[in-house]
């Protein structure tokens, strides 16, 4: 709290608002972007077994990952009010054949865990 107050006072005196944003000569920019982790597991609705190879996509950000052999996925992405996540079975009949599914997440504040069950075709 004390540090924050001092930051404001010094920032005002020096007439610049970027005192606390910096990057080393040979480093990267800093990262202040609010983001969150969306993770979960995809299983077969009929058998309850995990499904490998399902494409999990954050539709608006063209970000995706395929589920591992435990049906798990984990993606860090930017926070948005509404976020559509799609689950697609693209590998034909490998690991079974499942219907695609979309999920809409709203008002996301923190990391989230999804337990997804896909219906067989």
């Amino acid at each position: 709290m004390k540090n924050k107050l001092i930051r404001k006072i010094i920032g005002g005196l020096s007439l610049t608002s970027v005192l606390f944003v910096f990057q080393a000569c040979y480093g990267t920019p800093q990262d202040f972007e609010p983001d969150f982790r969306i993770e979960g597991q995809v299983k077969s609705k009929s058998t309850g077994l995990p499904i490998e190879g399902i494409k999990v996509s954050i539709v608006d950000y063209m970000q995706y990952e395929f589920t591992n052999d435990k049906g798990e996925f984990s993606i860090y992405t930017v926070i948005n009010n509404d976020m559509r996540i799609s689950f697609e079975d693209l590998d034909s009949t490998n690991n079974g054949s499942f219907l695609n599914r979309d999920t809409l997440l709203t008002n996301i504040q923190d990391n989230i865990y999804l337990d997804i069950k896909l219906e067989s075709k």
Partner: protein, 358 residues
């Protein structure tokens, strides 16, 4: 009046930040292997580095000693070429689990669509890729005929991400100083929003190649180019924090010069050494994670970094700008440390031609 106020305010800020020495930015030299053999490499890396990559667990044990890491704490993966490690995603996720951010400096060669996606998914928040000229001059410096094409592909990929804090860095040298406008145009076309320019100092492999170093006149041309480019809205162009540039301060950067090595910036080097930035002379090492508690070293050592009065020597002895410059970037003090390797301020004064925008 405003300039004087700004200077006074900034000196106060530096004093406060130095006393506080909050660690915000930690380099991790996670490998010294590299898939390129650049002419200017400050690390002197090689494809067949005999030094093994630092195991992730060793690094994690070191950062786990940090008590109450700052809210903006970031780990910057550097090398060598970090993408040569096959456990980068795991490294990133472990860092994020600790509530810290992570980023990477890369030559872009291995940064393809698949890698881009897996890095983003693992929580990478910032990325810097090097582009050192148009095709011929970039490939010359990178010592590789296919480098330019690969790097431009990587740049387009990274620039297209709404998540990444992405910038391109360019080492300005004799071969590319006259191409800066072209490079700027190609970066804007690729969607790049941020471009950082720096010069090369005579350390590592660069010592032997005089083509790499700008004359004083060329350095002033560079300052003028950046000053002009900062009036553009398409791209944010800036000079790196490598040195104090006198009258160009605030014209070429968002903030005044402040070398934060050992003040807000630390590093864990490949052999476990604890220091400021990785390009700083390794004799400045303050301890080693294999023998010392990292947090204890950060809190109690780094005296030479946090009190720079000892740098009032050589050409800095009676310099009128010392209070604002404080011996220039710390990486400019090497070997016997009797004089600053490069004085950027001196370069800005030595120009003999009319200043012209490139």
């Amino acid at each position: 009046m405003i300039t004087s106020l700004n200077r006074i305010g900034f000196r106060l800020f530096k004093k406060w930040a130095t006393n506080n020495h909050e660690l915000n930015y930690l380099f991790w030299e996670c490998t010294t292997r590299c898939n390129l053999n650049c002419l200017h490499c400050g690390s002197d890396c090689s494809k067949s580095s005999l030094v093994k990559d630092m195991p992730l667990d060793d690094f994690l044990a070191a950062i786990d000693t940090i008590e109450n890491p700052s809210s903006d704490f970031i780990v910057v993966l550097t090398g060598g070429e970090p993408l040569l490690r096959n456990d980068l995603e795991k490294c990133g996720r472990e860092i994020r689990k600790r509530g810290m951010r992570w980023s990477m400096v890369s030559n872009g060669h291995l940064y393809n669509k698949k890698k881009h996606m897996s890095m983003l998914n693992a929580g990478m928040g910032a990325l810097t890729i090097s582009l050192d000229g148009m095709k011929a001059s970039h490939n010359w410096l990178r010592n590789n005929e296919s480098s330019y094409t690969k790097v431009m592909d990587a740049i387009e990929l990274a620039a297209g991400s709404p998540r990444l804090n992405f910038d391109v860095v360019t080492c300005v040298n004799q071969r590319n100083i006259n191409e800066l406008s072209q490079i700027r145009k190609s970066l804007i076309n690729a969607g790049v929003k941020s471009w950082r320019l720096f010069t090369i100092i005579p350390i590592g492999r660069a010592v032997k190649l005089t083509d790499l170093f700008l004359s004083d006149n060329q350095f002033v041309e560079l300052m003028d180019f950046i000053t002009d480019s900062r009036k553009m809205v398409d791209i944010d162009v800036k000079f790196s924090c490598e040195g104090y540039v006198g009258k160009y301060e605030l014209k070429v950067r968002d903030s005044n010069f402040f070398c934060r090595a050992g003040i807000n910036i630390g590093s864990i080097l490949i052999d476990g050494s604890i220091s400021g930035c990785p390009n700083i002379d390794r004799s400045f090492s303050q301890g080693n994670i294999y023998e010392d508690n990292f947090n204890d070293i950060w809190q109690s050592k780094f005296v030479n970094f946090r009190n720079r009065e000892w740098l009032r020597k050589g050409s800095c002895t009676s310099c009128s700008e010392f209070k604002d410059c404080q011996g220039n970037g710390f990486h400019n003090w090497h070997d016997e440390k009797q004089n600053v390797l490069v004085c950027h301020f001196e370069k800005t004064k030595n120009t003999t031609v009319c200043q012209q925008a490139i």
